[in-house]
């Protein structure tokens, strides 16, 4: 019997529609998790804003410092601003997912007809939305304190933000796989992973500053290429396209690995009972 192509197309569209709907449901669920939640609002907006203010004032007072000290203060500020793009994505994804383990709502979500891919897209979209709002607020604070910060970086600022968020998404999947395995007990995994990643990301120093094995490992970390490129650009060199291509390729590779890890740990969690013991 020959299959009606129009019926196949219609069925495919219905499937896509319902998948988009499920992703929307997950997206809204994770977006609501910060709504009216003072602890999370402080974590996302207030602390980073204070940090930016502190180092923004330091950088702004650079004109009264010796040249080297001024350069260091701007490097620190740049590092803090951009590192937020990666670290916040990881920490936010873990925080909202762990909340579901604490409330046992994870059971309701996983009983629903969602796939792991849809779950990850929902979590990612919600964390990226929150980070976009957070970064806009932080950017506003920075413009008030240190107006020349963004003008010195130009349109590339957006490219770096995008790439660093992508790194954050990739490593948030690794962190989520840990939460699947151990439940709310590892709510700190977002902090641990982002802190370890920061060491290899060359946020504040050159690659040569890392000794031996750490130096070698840093080549496998996508954000290291981005921070090297940001610093080089700030110091007057042209944008190194190669570095960004490598960072992009590595980020996608880690995203795939992260997706695989989440799938494996979800299946393992169903065996050992992490989901039901939460």
């Amino acid at each position: 019997m020959t299959e009606n192509p129009y019926r196949t197309i219609k069925l495919t569209l219905i499937m896509h529609n319902s998948s988009i709907r499920r992703i929307r449901g997950l997206y809204l669920h994770y977006l609501y998790s910060i709504k009216r939640n003072p602890a999370r609002v402080i974590e996302m907006f207030v602390w980073p804003a204070f940090e930016i203010m502190l180092f923004g004032f330091l950088a702004a007072s650079g004109k009264n410092m010796p040249t080297e000290a001024a350069v260091i203060s701007v490097t620190i500020l740049t590092g803090i601003v951009y590192w937020n793009c990666t670290a916040r994505v990881i920490q936010e994804a873990v925080a909202q997912f762990t909340d579901d383990f604490v409330s046992k709502n994870i059971q309701g979500i996983l009983v629903a007809p969602i796939s792991i891919g849809e779950l990850l897209i929902g979590i990612t979209a919600a964390s990226l939305t929150k980070i976009a709002i957070s970064l806009t607020v932080l950017g506003g604070v920075l413009v008030l304190i240190y107006p020349s910060f963004f003008s010195s970086l130009g349109a590339h600022a957006l490219l770096w933000v995008f790439q660093l968020e992508l790194v954050g998404v990739a490593f948030s999947y690794v962190a989520l796989s840990v939460v699947f395995l151990f439940g709310e007990r590892v709510s700190f995994s977002g902090w641990i992973i982002s802190t370890v990643l920061q060491i290899f990301s060359l946020v504040f120093y050159e690659r040569s500053a890392l000794p031996g094995l750490l130096h070698t490992v840093s080549y496998a970390v996508p954000s290291s290429y981005i921070f090297e490129s940001i610093r080089a650009y700030q110091y007057g060199s042209p944008l190194v396209t190669n570095s960004h291509t490598i960072a992009l390729a590595l980020s996608f590779a880690y995203m795939m690995i992260g997706f695989g890890l989440v799938t494996i740990s979800y299946n393992w969690a169903r065996k050992i009972g992490t989901i039901i013991k939460s």
């Binding site: 499920r22 809204l28 669920h29 609501y32 046992k104 059971q107 007809p113 039901i276």
Partner: protein, 226 residues
């Protein structure tokens, strides 16, 4: 509707379920009773796919759960009294997100009808989940569980925190639903409730089915715990 064959499950070397086999037809309301640690919740979690058995096969709606989970999940739902939906969102916001997860476009009439039957006030809709009392929370979980009008409904101690009146209304809704060939499995410590609501009773003891038949009185149940 539900077919379990030789289900086994252990945690850390301790056997929780031992060769559990079960067959449930459409329209049945099955109450699972048993002492604490008998394996009731474990069995329900296995049926929902939240937990994978060590061995055995599960067929729901004629499909193997292992390979057709997403298809079966559309026709199934689960609620537990110990679960809380998204804490800082309102009841309405939570139910909207779950309607999206189940692909139910017109869920308002389902909720309105249920809430009217159970005489629940509309103001509850705008209340945040973390502000709900335990009874209200259980009722919201129950509402979530019937959003998609599931053919398979799994309820874990859902009336545990409800007042007797609300509990009675919820059980009436369950009975009415099942006239339409839906299947419900209820876990409850309240054996009187199981006796009044269920068409069949299963008693689990040390991970084994020790009774499977018509609902029986409390004093008779105790004889199976020995």
């Amino acid at each position: 509707m539900i077919e379990l064959i030789n289900i086994n499950k252990s945690f850390g070397g301790k056997r929780i379920l031992s060769n559990v086999s079960l067959s449930v037809r459409g329209g049945e309301i099955v109450g699972i009773a048993g002492p604490v640690g008998a394996g009731k919740s474990t069995l329900l979690h296995i049926l929902t796919g939240l937990l994978e058995p060590d061995s055995g096969t599960i067929t729901l709606l004629g499909l193997p759960l292992q390979s057709s989970r997403q298809i079966i999940a559309k026709e199934m739902n689960y609620a537990s009294s110990s679960q809380r939906l998204g804490g800082y969102a309102s009841v309405a916001e939570n139910l909207t997100t779950y309607a999206d997860l189940y692909g139910v476009p017109h869920f308002r009439p389902i909720i309105t009808n249920l809430w009217k039957l159970c005489k629940m006030p509309d103001v509850l809709m705008s209340k945040k989940i973390y502000k709900l009392s335990s009874g209200e929370n259980s009722f919201v979980n129950f509402t979530k569980a019937i959003l998609n009008n599931p053919r398979l409904l799994f309820l874990d101690e859902i009336t545990a925190h409800m007042d007797p009146l609300l509990s009675q209304r919820v059980l009436t809704v369950i009975k009415k639903r099942n006239r339409k060939t839906n299947t419900t499995i209820i876990i409850s410590q309240n054996t009187e409730e199981v006796r009044r609501t269920c068409t069949r009773m299963i008693i689990l003891y040390h991970g084994k089915i020790v009774y499977d038949g018509k609902p029986i009185q409390n004093n008779k149940i105790n004889t199976y715990y020995a």
